[in-house]
């Protein structure tokens, strides 16, 4: 369980995280969704106590992270930026982390096998591909067999095989009763992995709802209708709740009516239909329209927020 209360982080004049209050519950996969630069990574760093909040508070399993006596058993985290010394081997990296908690070497070997890095465990991590580095980060996150697993953009740089592996792993960890919290800027990825969503934009909470609810609420139902009587049909359907797009002569898209409704109306009036096809608007579009107002840098030439924040933090 992760609980954030009025969590805020300011860097000079920039507010990276703005009064966030949310709970991440055990037993399900919670997605942390927001455009790049919306404050996801900063929030995760505050959860781990790496950054101190400017205001508000965040606890993990009821305690501040820094007050945990065995933090790696409470939270296993993969941060977006690489957090590995490139001169050290995968094995030594994991061993050094394990030793802080008295975790045995056998557990290190086990994790290396789990993420499939046996063949390269003695190689310097600097020679790893992005995907291998990501696997090493996931091994480090799972080292302490943690109650809470928190991953920042975990599928970055993974091949399709690896992406499916992460999804299955996350679902399994949640099924075991753990709290799984993972960030992404891709709604389509979340729709496949997450059960619940926390959506932020420009550091502010936009939505906290289940994935099913999100899909129900945000996927518009559009029906494509092809008919020689398209113009008459358009006139027939006209109402404040219905919007109609004439794509080409004889082809319209109707939003606000279901396919059966349209079919029945057309039959009642004796109009011929050549095509009656419901169109699913993509979740990505829904997510983008939801956060559009909250994205700071549409087409302007300003510096993206992430870079600003990093420049100030550095």
């Amino acid at each position: 369980m992760i609980e954030a209360r009025n969590l805020t982080k300011r860097y000079g004049d920039t507010t990276a995280v703005d009064d966030l209050t949310f709970k991440v519950r055990p037993g399900i996969v919670t997605g942390f969704l927001g455009p790049n630069g919306s404050g996801k990574s900063t929030t995760m760093r505050m959860i781990l106590g790496l950054d101190a909040p400017s205001a508000g508070d965040v606890t993990v399993n009821g305690k501040h992270y820094a007050d945990q006596s065995a933090p790696l058993h409470e939270v296993g985290a993969l941060l977006e930026a690489r957090s590995i010394h490139p001169g050290r081997s995968a094995y030594s990296h994991l061993l050094a982390l394990a030793q802080t908690h008295g975790i045995p070497r056998s557990r290190v070997t086990e994790l290396i096998e789990l993420v499939g890095l046996e063949a390269v465990e003695r190689k310097r991590a600097g020679q790893f591909s992005l995907g291998m580095g990501q696997r090493l980060g996931i091994a480090a996150a799972l080292l302490g067999d943690p109650e809470v697993v928190m991953l920042d953009e975990p599928v970055n740089g993974l091949d399709p095989d690896g992406i499916r592996w992460i999804r299955d792993l996350m679902k399994q960890l949640a099924a075991e009763g753990r709290t799984v919290f993972l960030s992404s800027h891709l709604m389509s990825e979340m729709a496949l992995t997450a059960d619940h969503l926390i959506v932020i934009g420009r550091g502010r909470l936009i939505a906290d709802l289940s994935v099913d609810e999100f899909i129900r609420r945000h996927s518009r139902s559009i029906v494509r209708v092809r008919s020689p009587n398209a113009t008459e049909l358009a006139a027939l359907f006209a109402s404040p709740h219905v919007s109609i797009d004439a794509l080409e002569p004889g082809l319209i898209e109707v939003e606000g009516l279901t396919a059966p409704e349209i079919g029945e109306w057309a039959a009642a009036k004796g109009f011929v239909l050549h095509e009656l096809a419901p169109q699913q608007a993509s979740l990505e579009e829904a997510f983008m329209s939801m956060t559009r107002d909250d994205v700071e840098y549409h087409a302007t030439a300003s510096i993206p927020e992430t870079e600003k924040v990093e420049a100030i933090a550095a």
């Binding site: 781990l48 790496l50 930026a81 590995i84 001169g87 802080t100 789990l114 995907g131």
Partner: protein, 282 residues
């Protein structure tokens, strides 16, 4: 690379025995970190090698030229100083390594993994200082002894005013100077480590270290000599190196007073590093 196991083994479901972070465990972790980097091993070796080489080389040169040297040169030849001169180079290697022990974590992002595992933070600094200090002393002491004994063995048999110029470890102040040299190198390494923690940047840490220890002392020579003589004994490097001098040279603190002052500077820098580490975002 292929994924060999897509499924999660049942072991994930087994809780590892409840453990907690302790200072001793963090020290073990820092030991692993120190020796799992190739650069550490090379730099430590370089520190040892220069200490010994720069004892042997001057001894060989002076011994071979002894019969033709002027009486003045013979009178001013300091067999102790010439055998401990390598300390000047070794301190640079060890100080730079001290900086890197911590700045390397910031430049690579490793610090986030480290502090996520030890969020109380200070145990990491104490562990780094403890492990690095112990390793440095454990290597510097034999290096100093080897440097001293090999140089004196080479000088043995050459005499001035009826005395053999080679010193014995039992001569007054000699054992203190040789062992003190190892203590000085250890403190120099820890001073570098503290600077690395304060600056969190390798270049800034090393240049500050070199600036304080190597650049400031000659700069003071432009001052009127009464000022220079009053100030320079209190500079970190001059104070610390007083431990390696025998006799009673002018404008120098007493050997233990000087070393204690250098230890004090190091402790203050370390305290500042601790305060910053505890407070700053990573």
């Amino acid at each position: 690379m292929t994924v060999t196991s897509l499924s999660t083994p049942s072991s994930l479901q087994r809780r590892t025995p409840a453990a907690r972070v302790t200072q001793r465990r963090v020290a073990l972790s820092e030991w692993t970190k120190l020796f799992s980097l190739r650069s550490t091993r090379y730099t430590l070796f370089a520190g040892i090698a220069t200490t010994i080489a720069f004892a042997i080389i001057p001894a060989l040169i002076n011994a071979s030229r002894w019969s033709t040297m002027s009486a003045h040169d013979k009178a001013t030849f300091n067999p102790l100083e010439s055998s401990l001169i390598g300390v000047n180079l070794a301190q640079l290697a060890l100080g730079a390594l001290g900086v890197l022990v911590i700045s390397g974590e910031y430049s690579t992002g490793m610090i986030r993994s480290t502090l996520a595992a030890v969020p109380k933070r200070l145990p990491v600094l104490w562990a780094k200082a403890g492990v690095f200090g112990t390793v440095t002393f454990a290597l510097a002491l034999p290096a100093m002894l080897i440097a001293f004994f090999s140089a004196q063995a080479i000088l043995h048999g050459h005499s001035f005013a009826g005395h053999d110029i080679a010193l014995s470890i039992s001569d007054p102040g000699v054992a203190r100077a040789v062992i003190g040299g190892a203590l000085y190198l250890t403190l120099a390494g820890l001073f570098g480590l503290s600077l690395g923690a304060i600056f969190r940047n390798t270049a800034a840490g090393i240049s500050t270290f070199a600036g304080i220890l190597f650049v400031v002392p000659p700069l003071l020579e432009v001052l009127p000599s009464s000022w220079n003589n009053a100030i320079s004994p209190y500079l970190p490097s001059k104070a610390g190196q007083a431990i390696m001098q025998i006799g009673n040279p002018a404008h120098t603190l007493g050997p233990w007073t000087g070393l204690a002052l250098f230890a004090g500077y190091t402790a203050l820098t370390m305290a500042a590093a601790a305060a910053f580490l505890k407070r700053r975002d990573v």
